[in-house]
Symmetry: C2
Subunit: 199 residues, 2 copies
DNA sequence: TCCGCCATCACCCGTTGGGGTGATCTTCTT
DNA sequence: AAGAAGATCACCCCAACGGGTGATGGCGGA
């Protein structure tokens, strides 16, 4: 029997997860939590085999809760759940010790499969998330730096100063970014980049 | 007995909603749908008292599904659900005939209460959503139009043409937008607006 | 070894953007 | 009736932007 702790601040999602997991013969939900702090407490008390952790939670967010749970018990196996196709959380989650990373619109099969896989010692990333993380739009590392500075409202001269290059170089990068993102101006490029989670 | 149709593309959320609603003595889930088209079909077949509709769904989004359901049956009572505190959907939803607008992190009590209220003929908006709808950053209706066109990559001349005003007028609006969003260029303004769900 | 990608820079060009100031007209509120 | 707020437009100005073309090293894969 795989003992699972479910932590999610949305009652609907929490109940949905529990309902789906209870349908599995080899999975048992032993505790639930509605915020990060509660999740840390319940993990400490119940020592579940698997903790399902929502990234976005009040009081203490998922990543920080994950860190504390792993600090309490370095053997703890945590699967991070997210609603958003936002890969920003992947690397922080993995660095904090997550063994799985799933989207909330996973099916019951995927969810149960992930729990069994992680309980068995494997690590599991949602394929869609891995794809998302790979959507770099063909931008180079340098172009990403320029893009981020653009998004912060810096003009070409400021970007040049920040990166210790000439303004001409920056303009070249900016033009290349436009071409790759299929935009004609920085406003569209920055928004595009944000929507595609590039920044 | 209030007969309810639940439409949500996320299996977890769908099951969560159904589980929570089945706990209520006076509510019965008579059908479920995983996308907008299915929702329209099920509504046509079952004629539920209340339809719970997720805004973000594949094939046919919630708003469009809502329009078709109401076209089939102008008496249909639909409650729109959303994960995001994005007020953009409020007005389109209401215009399309929604009788309720709730966030997915509503509690069982709020959800059941909303269903009973709408079934009884009232309309119900999530108070938090109403607050969110008020974060307009002090922008006027005209400034919103300009902002949206800016975000689509249009320049001042194009915006002027689209709104049937002079370019000078557009420039004035753009300057006012910058002041209100505390930005110095369109790239930052557009990103800012996106982050704050203004567009 | 050679080709391609990347980062760097230069120069030219016309267009656009953003700031400032001031004015008129309508509408709504007080 | 007075005042505030919004929408409209004009004129000036200079800096910034975006496009095009071309060139030079460096580095890595074929």
């Amino acid at each position: 029997m795989i003992r699972v702790l479910v932590a999610d601040d949305h009652p609907v999602v929490r109940e949905g997860l529990i309902t789906m997991l209870e349908l599995e013969d080899d999975i048992e939900v032993v505790a639930r939590a509605a915020d990060g702090e509660e999740a840390v407490m319940m993990a400490r008390r119940e020592h579940p085999d698997i903790t399902l952790l929502d990234v976005q939670m009040p009081v203490l967010d998922g990543i920080e809760a994950l860190r504390r749970i792993r600090a309490d018990d370095p053997e703890a196996r945590v699967i991070v759940l997210t609603t958003y196709r936002n890969e920003d959380y992947i690397f922080p989650s993995l660095r904090a010790g997550a063994r799985g990373y799933l989207l909330k619109d996973s099916s019951r099969e995927e969810l149960a499969g992930a729990i069994r896989a992680v309980a068995a010692g494997e690590s599991l990333l949602d394929p869609e998330m891995v794809d998302a993380a790979r959507d770099d739009a063909g931008l180079t590392a340098r172009e990403f730096e320029v893009l981020r500075l653009m998004a912060d409202g810096h003009n070409n001269a400021q970007i040049a100063t920040a990166l210790f290059v000439s303004e001409n170089t920056v303009k070249t990068h900016v033009s290349n970014i436009f071409a790759k993102l299929d935009c004609r101006d920085r406003a569209a490029a920055v928004l595009q980049a944000w929507k595609r989670h590039l920044i």
